[in-house]
């Protein structure tokens, strides 16, 4: 039994009653890390000394004053593309190997206000480009449910650390499925908020029109609490939305009576494993039993989402990653003849293959003579994909389907062929293109590997996603199962 088997609200209660100290929670993290981290490899940087000091200060504070926020003292891991002042932030890239940020991301400032304790920075695919963590410039992360399998990506470290009980919860980022896919593969809860719900200030940009930071947790309830803490408009991010942030936890009434669910036939068709399809149909039965109704619908442009996404995200990435030039921060090649040579060698030596491939694709799609045929064409198809969602949401409350077409694949299985790897994101990508929110919750197992149910909502309707996901979670016990890491006591 781990302290992290308890929900945030229970741990908060224990702290409040002085039956549990923040130091106990932080030690729980480091104890578990000592047990399993050599197998899971979720972290790039641990902030042990600072975390222990923070815990001590908090415990002293607790002794004199008891009124504390819900997340007070809760140990969190942060994906390594979110900048943390004074704590190395690498984006899992050699080009930022020794980067020491000089400010905190807005979400990190908000976590400080909520008084969480940062345990460390989590592994990912380099610059969030990938679906398996095999593209990390430093190391692979392993799926706690089966160490021969990938944890998913790009927030693979964030999902694996939560699944393995190394932290209570974590932050990831999602550009084409990078929170939801690893959450599904690792059997945890991951939410990509509506575009604009959470500030991107301090998130190292991959594709600015698609990127969102979001929470990865054991339970739906904890997910709602963490999103609550990081949401809201931010003057430092002009694309953050000035909309009301509702009380997400209050939405979890357990009531889904009369809920109208749309199930896109494209999400259960070709390429989707039978086990995955069956788990979604079973989940729909559970929701039906609780009074929801579902019908099959069509999102006719789904098949074009993958091509649209790779053109747009790579184009944006090629512009965003132009800043890594060896001048102001990061790696610089030791042998350059002149400035241009320095740029080219620095970037060639600092970036990994997948990052280079996407920079090249994006540069091509934006280059003179090809802009209209590729980039602008993709922007137009994005409109059609967005309209697909609007059409369905005119008549339905949520859309439900699988998060991924298959359970976690084997390490090394897809890495050679970029196209097979990209297909992994086929069910998550349309959501980013439309900017709508979506959550992945555990909905079954196939050969001991977790499966994820994806629930997609209207813009800014995260509260309803939490209501549905929570009702489903309460009616099932998939979330109560934990990976048995071999050889770990």
């Amino acid at each position: 039994m781990s302290l992290f088997d308890h929900k945030v609200s229970d741990l908060h209660e224990l702290i409040h009653k002085k039956e549990l100290k923040v130091s106990d929670l932080v030690e729980e993290s480091f104890k578990r890390i000592a047990q399993v981290e050599d197998k899971v490899q979720a972290f790039l940087t641990l902030d042990e000394e600072q975390a222990r000091n923070t815990a001590k200060v908090m415990d002293d504070k607790l002794a004199s004053d008891s009124a504390k926020g819900l997340l007070f003292g809760m140990p969190i891991g942060i994906k390594d593309n979110i900048v943390t002042k004074g704590l190395r932030t690498t984006c899992a890239s050699k080009i930022l190997e020794n980067f020491d940020p000089i400010y905190d991301a807005t979400v990190v400032q908000k976590l400080q206000q909520a008084e969480t304790v940062t345990i460390g920075k989590l592994n990912m695919d380099e610059f969030a480009m990938g679906s398996s963590n095999e593209n990390s410039g430093f190391k692979k992360t392993y799926n706690p449910w089966n160490l021969e399998r990938v944890p998913g990506g790009s927030s693979g470290g964030s999902a694996a650390a939560v699944a393995a009980g190394e932290v209570l919860f974590s932050l990831g980022s999602d550009t084409g499925g990078s929170i939801r896919q690893p959450a599904a593969f690792c059997g945890v809860v991951g939410l990509k908020p509506t575009y604009g719900r959470v500030s991107r200030f301090g998130l190292v940009a991959f594709a600015s029109s698609l990127d969102q930071i979001g929470p990865i947790t054991r339970t739906v309830e904890d997910n709602a609490y963490l999103l609550q803490a990081i949401s809201g408009v931010d003057p430092m991010d002009s694309t953050s939305a000035n909309v009301e942030v509702p009380d997400f936890a209050a939405a979890m009434t357990g009531d889904v009576k009369g809920l109208k669910i749309a199930v896109p036939k494209e999400y259960l068709g070709e390429g989707v494993a039978e086990s995955v399809r069956q788990s979604v149909l079973d989940a729909l039965k559970v929701l039906e039993k609780h009074g929801a109704v579902w019908e099959e619908v069509s999102l006719p442009h789904s098949k074009y989402a993958l091509a649209t996404y790779y053109l747009l995200s790579s184009s944006e990435a090629s512009a965003n990653l132009a800043r890594f030039d060896g001048v102001r921060y990061g790696y610089r090649t030791p042998d350059a003849e002149n400035l241009l040579d320095m740029y080219k060698k620095t970037r060639a030596e600092g970036f990994g293959d997948e990052v280079k491939r996407r920079i090249m694709l994006g540069t091509f799609a934006l280059s003179s003579g090809y802009y209209d045929a590729y980039y602008k064409k993709a922007q137009k198809v994005r409109t059609l994909i967005k309209q697909d969602f609007e059409n369905v949401f005119a008549n339905y409350d949520v859309i439900i389907g699988p998060t991924t077409p298959t359970p976690a694949f084997k390490i090394g299985e897809n890495i050679e062929d970029p196209m097979t790897m990209y297909v992994n994101d086929i069910l998550t990508i349309p959501v980013n293109l439309a900017g709508v929110p979506a959550i992945s919750v555990p909905c079954g197992f196939d050969g001991g590997l977790p499966l994820g149910l994806q629930i997609i909502g209207k813009h800014f309707d995260e509260a309803l996603l939490y209501r549905v996901a929570h009702a489903f979670e309460q009616a099932t016990d998939y979330h109560k199962q934990k990976p048995q890491l071999e050889g770990v006591k």
Partner: protein, 97 residues
């Protein structure tokens, strides 16, 4: 038919400021060709009268008061730089030796 030539790949790599070897040129040519060929499926769609989506939310210009604020301290800004001289970023000569 190949959509991308090795010459194009070299041109794009130069635009992207990436040094690439002959071997990488071959590899990227093949891979980019596969991706671009895949992307051509978008041409099945008639988008003549479709407006592009640059931003998913209905947002206009976001304005704020133009208030002067102190910038980041110079020492902090320079601390991650690979090479610094006299409080400034230092780069190799533009025209070489």
């Amino acid at each position: 038919m190949s959509r991308i030539s090795t010459e194009q790949v070299k041109h794009v790599a130069n635009l992207a400021r990436l040094a690439i070897s002959e071997e990488e040129t071959e590899k990227f040519t093949k891979q980019l060709d596969a991706i671009i060929t895949f992307a051509e499926q978008l041409n099945e769609l008639d988008t003549e009268n479709v407006a592009p989506t640059y931003h998913v939310l209905d947002m206009k210009n976001v304005l704020r008061e133009d208030m002067p604020k102190p910038g980041l301290p110079r020492e902090e800004v320079l601390k991650n730089a690979p090479n610094v001289q006299d409080g400034q970023f230092k780069v190799p000569a533009i025209l070489g030796e």
